[in-house]
């Protein structure tokens, strides 16, 4: 019976994560629609492909090394211990493929314990984390449209999606991460580990890249560059909201016993947990997801005077800003955090645009970067003194730990991306020349399209009798 129960739990968990992966794909459908909607007609195709090709590139590199980083680096290494061995996550391990849990003769690097646990869960855990990775990379994509070279973005996408974010996840979004142990860092639904780091990376890229031609008047006043299709933008954001349900569900362990957690929880009540293996429920996050989304949209509608782009974007920012503590907040707290933080982010977006001439075409730095950063900081105060983990000896949640964590997340995205962007820029690989930017980055593709339409049209007309 115990064997069957364990088998059922494993297969349920496998299916649960598989469903979250499917749902999270909607985030990327949304990102593509959103970016294409914001871009002008002469840049559609390259904008679409720039975002879409992050999916395969981050996928293969997350397979090669990203997944291993998560399990290898929770101690730093060198902060709370050494490098952790995780053979099941090495890309050359048999458990990184179709496996039935036994150990074949001559199968190196597989222990019976690893095989029993990971043969059904490795692929779906990897897939769920991968979708976070692609999301983190995609966040940068929208802000740099219409003048960045696609190849430059794809290199940065691999850096952020398959190295930086998963490194910070290993530190602050892992049951044994050093930030959780030593700082009491709490960021259950990834305000910092996904959004703040992506916002930091986007800001660094934008600083080196510079604004689009025409974005600023000669006196430095910003011009509005309207989306060519607001409807496409809002549908894209709706799809991102929808995909975020999968994102939230994937941040939980759906069903686990206290004995399996092997921490301080007593009794035999099975539970869902957050990524730190501390108890929560899907019900709790459903309350808070919807309330924080609502707070953001309600505030956004007022602050932006009913502007669709910002009303929807602030809804997303509402979720992001409450995500760090949405496993534990009261729904009204989620509502208020989801309203107040995006309002600050909206103001900051325009302040930074005016003051520092940063042209963020989709407001990604504000929605994800500032929203994620402030969300982590707020959680440090709101959850002050609560246990960060079910394990003994971990620091409790506190404002200083979460503030330091938020800074670390933003900086970890900013600094390496700034350096890589500078290198790419020095090699003329970061930005298209001004003439090409004015023609539109789709110039050659549009030309070929128009020529084909003319040619086939002429041929068909010649056959009319």
């Amino acid at each position: 019976m115990e064997g069957n129960l364990n088998a059922l739990t494993t297969i349920f968990t496998e299916f649960y994560y598989w469903v979250t992966i499917v749902m999270m794909f909607l985030i990327h459908v949304g990102f593509c629609m959103y970016e294409v909607g914001v871009s002008r007609r002469r840049n559609h195709l390259k904008t679409l492909m720039k975002n879409a090709m992050a999916i395969p590139l981050v996928t293969i590199t997350f397979y090669f090394f990203g997944w291993w980083i998560y399990f290898g680096f929770p101690n730093g290494p060198g902060i709370a211990g050494g490098l952790v061995t995780a053979p099941f996550a090495e890309s050359w391990n048999p458990l990184m493929g179709t496996h039935l849990s036994g150990v074949n003769p001559g199968e190196t690097g597989v222990t019976p314990t690893d095989a029993a646990l990971w043969h059904r869960l490795n692929g779906v855990f990897w897939g769920a984390f991968l979708l976070f990775s692609i999301t983190t990379a995609s966040i940068i994509s929208g802000s740099i449209i219409e003048r960045a070279r696609s190849g430059a973005f794809w290199i940065v996408a691999v850096l952020v999606g398959s190295v930086l974010w998963i490194l910070d996840a290993s530190w602050g979004w892992h049951p044994q991460g050093w930030m959780v142990k030593l700082w009491g860092y709490h960021d259950a639904y990834a305000s910092g580990v996904v959004h703040a780091i992506a916002g930091g990376a986007a800001l660094a890229f934008l600083i080196v890249l510079g604004p689009r031609i025409g974005k600023f008047k000669p006196d430095g006043t910003p011009r509005d560059i309207p989306p060519h299709n607001v409807w496409l933008v809002t549908i894209g954001l709706f799809l991102i909201f929808t995909g975020f349900w999968g994102f939230y569900a994937a941040c939980n362990i759906p069903l686990i016993s206290p004995a399996t957690i092997a921490g301080q929880i007593t009794g035999e009540t099975w539970t869902a947990t957050n990524i730190y293996l501390a108890p929560t429920t899907l019900s709790a996050i459903t309350f808070n997801f919807l309330m924080s989304l609502s707070g953001g949209m309600l505030a956004g509608y007022i602050v932006s005077k009913g502007d669709p782009f910002w009303t929807f974007s602030m809804g997303l920012c509402g979720i992001i800003s409450a995500s760090a503590g949405n496993d534990l907040y009261h729904p009204i707290q989620a509502l208020l955090i989801g309203a107040i933080v995006p309002t600050i982010c909206y103001k900051l977006h325009y302040f930074v645009e005016r003051r520092f001439k940063i042209d963020d075409a989709v407001g990604a730095v504000a929605v994800h970067g500032y929203g994620g950063f402030l969300g982590v900081v707020v959680a440090g105060f709101m959850l002050w003194g609560q246990p960060s983990s079910p394990y003994e000896g971990f620091a409790h949640v506190n404002p200083l730990g979460n503030f330091a964590g938020a800074v670390l997340m933003f900086v970890l995205g900013f600094v390496p991306t700034f350096v890589v962007s500078k290198i790419l820029n020095s090699m003329n690989l970061l930005r298209v020349p001004a003439k090409v930017e004015l023609e539109g980055v789709d110039f050659a593709l549009n030309h070929a399209f128009d020529a084909s339409v003319r040619e086939v049209g002429t041929a068909e007309k010649a056959m009319i009798k």
């Binding site: 050359w92 048999p94 001559g106 050659a444």
Partner: protein, 72 residues
């Protein structure tokens, strides 16, 4: 003879490990995968450079660019 060592399903599944073809060549496969990835970036960069060069040589009069700008 089979590429994954399985010739029948008359087995206890708990005794079976990996079932993909050519087990034992995982390291080689990873190396091939890495070469494919890096090679893709190299080819893409060349392709993008060529396309930018062509775009730079096109539309000397600026007429088509003006039309494209008008379409927003």
């Amino acid at each position: 003879m089979s590429t994954n060592g399985m010739e029948s399903w008359a087995v206890d599944l708990k005794d079976i490990g990996a079932i993909y073809p050519f087990q034992g060549s995982e390291v080689v496969m990873v190396i091939i995968g890495l070469v494919f990835w890096i090679g893709w970036h190299v080819l893409q960069t060349r392709h993008e450079n060529a396309e930018i060069e062509a775009d730079m040589a096109a539309d000397r009069s600026g007429e088509e660019t003006r039309k494209a700008i008008d379409r927003h």
